[in-house]
Point group: C2
Chain length 382, copies 2
């Protein structure tokens, strides 16, 4: 299968590119290094440097003999987007090409405007380019569990049958997000759903929970092939940040009460979910939605897991409840379904001490590179 990965330099984009080529798929990647630029501007550099995308592809080719064509440019620019699609002729697109951080989207007006414009314009260009160059191609879009927010009823997998005054209608599950970034993902889904109905696109929207980890089958023996590893408040996901805080001897920063519960997923499983979605595509005219996570934890539970694993390694891990800079429910009902990807064959890697210890041992090698002021920037929601 010919797969075009948009955002192929990212935390998930690059591991996905290697994973798919290792499984025999042809892959091309496009990226404009937006994530790298924003991390530099906000002074929240990842834990270790990584090669640029051309270098990464050359390294991967030297290891695997798999060639990955690289397109560097901005997918909000229609001319560039059209060229990428015209040349790569994909059977499927993995669309990661978005500003991915909730706190960044809440930083200030310019960051909000960038997030809104970048995410919506790229999604629109993907839709238009598929229509023009590959109308039968399957779009696999990274959404987020954050689209659903934390409603008081069970979260179904994308759709909800509503009974109302003796009648019934099936809707997209009503969504209400807790950051501008997550709100742009709601808008993406609305846009995709509209054009699925109008143009019979085939789309899989993956409502993913926070991802953790950095090791995959393709990079375990070669550090040069690792993904970005952000541990800061802005671009770092919570479990990755806790692991680095534990190693740094900095208390795990739990926002508010810590009862915020989310669905989490190991990066290995995230890649498998994307691959399973590609290899079992949505039908023509179908918007297929999967809830992409394997286990739910409250922030308090995550902090306890990290504390336990860290203490096993001889670290002296502390937890500190800090003022929550976000506006979110800190204690809420949360019961999201997630059977679709299991039905496709996903075998979850659950969070255990071994996984956490492997991450901690790795982070220890970069301990002197940890910048503690990244941990708690207090990007305020209100």
């Amino acid at each position: 299968m010919r797969v075009l990965i948009l955002g192929g330099d990212g935390y998930l984009g690059w591991p996905t590119a290697m994973n798919l080529t290792a499984r025999g798929h042809w892959v091309a990647v496009a990226d404009n290094y937006l994530r790298r630029r924003l991390c530099r501007e906000e002074n929240v550099e990842p834990l270790f440097g990584v090669p640029n995308l051309h270098e990464r592809c050359a390294l991967w080719e030297s290891v695997s003999e798999k060639q990955i064509p690289v397109f560097i440019g901005d997918l909000t620019d229609w001319e560039f987007a059209a060229e990428v699609f015209r040349v790569s002729k994909p059977d499927a697109i993995v669309h990661y090409a978005e500003q991915p951080a909730a706190p960044y989207s809440m930083l200030n007006r310019r960051a909000a405007a960038l997030t809104l414009n970048n995410n919506l314009t790229v999604t629109a260009n993907v839709i238009f380019a598929v229509r023009e160059y590959c109308p039968d191609a399957h779009i696999v879009k990274l959404g987020t569990m954050g689209e659903y927010g934390t409603p008081d009823i069970d979260i179904e997998e994308g759709w909800l049958e509503v009974d109302h005054k003796g009648r019934r209608h099936k809707f997209l599950y009503p969504r209400q997000a807790s950051s501008l970034y997550h709100t742009t993902k709601i808008m993406d889904t609305d846009l995709l759903w509209f054009y699925v109905r109008m143009w019979n696109l085939r789309v899989t929207d993956l409502m993913q929970g926070p991802v953790y980890g950095l090791f995959t089958a393709e990079n375990e023996n070669d550090d040069r092939l690792l993904p970005f590893f952000n541990y800061d408040e802005i671009f770092g996901t919570v479990l990755n940040r806790f692991v680095v805080q534990a190693v740094a001897g900095y208390p795990l920063t739990v926002f508010g009460k810590g009862g915020q519960t989310r669905g989490y997923i190991n990066i290995k499983d995230s890649l498998n979910c994307v691959r399973l979605s590609l290899e079992n595509p949505a039908q023509t005219g179908e918007l297929r939605i999967f809830n992409q996570f394997t286990e739910t934890f409250s922030v308090n539970e995550l902090a306890e897991r990290v504390t336990h694993a860290g203490n096993e390694l001889g670290l002296n891990v502390k937890i500190q409840h800090v003022e929550n800079p976000r506006k979110e429910a800190e204690d809420h009902y949360y019961n999201p379904k997630h059977t679709g990807l299991l039905d496709l064959g996903l075998t979850p890697h659950c969070l255990d001490d071994k996984t956490l210890e492997q991450m901690m041992r790795f982070v220890m090698r970069y301990k002197d590179r940890i910048t503690q002021d990244q941990f708690y920037r207090q990007v305020k929601w209100a």
Copy 2:
């Protein structure tokens, strides 16, 4: 009250400006003439020319002694938007400043991109400008009944209590629109709702049905003060188009079966709804939603009304069912609630022969200006 009208040159913007000043409110208007430019580019000029916005305000001042400051510029440009808010210091904003036509949004990629970018960016700039310059100001936003689409259950007024597996949650009513334009209005609502929750904005979102008519208390004695009157397939609303077709001796173009049912509203009532919303503002931290229409009709029913009124005037009105260029349900359940504005005191002007005859007699004066190729451009949805 100091009211800033964004899109103050439009079909509703200009009548609203006169109406509010006549009721003693201070008003400023902003516009970039986007609607005029797009009509010129697509060669669908309104039935008669209207003065520019500066000229309109000068005319209105000569009649009413009310001064209306004019800001000409593009509200997607933050510098301009900020200046307008900084100088006008509004207590309330009426936000009409969007690309308003469903068919235009489906015309081609550039028109779609313009619609998406214009509508979302202006709404975002309004939110940011309110936050920065007038955080307590009331935003009155024109939404559309089209956000709801045509679900098989009753359409409530903005919100829906969902019972699911023994639990209950109140959501924004789930929305699914039938054009890109209408989809951008869903996105607007999502954006406003997010920032209402984060920043305690006060917002009224008016889900308006198609508007018809052109006469208001302020313009009935002076044609120079009339609004745009588009009768084309792209920018003209259906009833206005039917009236012009009847006068032109061109068969009323009913798309497909004609069972498409919508909620309609006379322009007089539309202005009253906006004024009532302003004079009874939403609370701090409230997204208030009203369904803004007075009567529902199928397209067939509208065509029959126009035929009857036209024949009374001696016109020989015919109806022609043409291939539906849109992708939409042509026969569907439709039961939308609309009590909120009635509760605020709206007294509807219902559609009757007299209203239609007044419109037809007026249009007859411009019969030689009617360009019949505007009636059926067949902008295809799929």
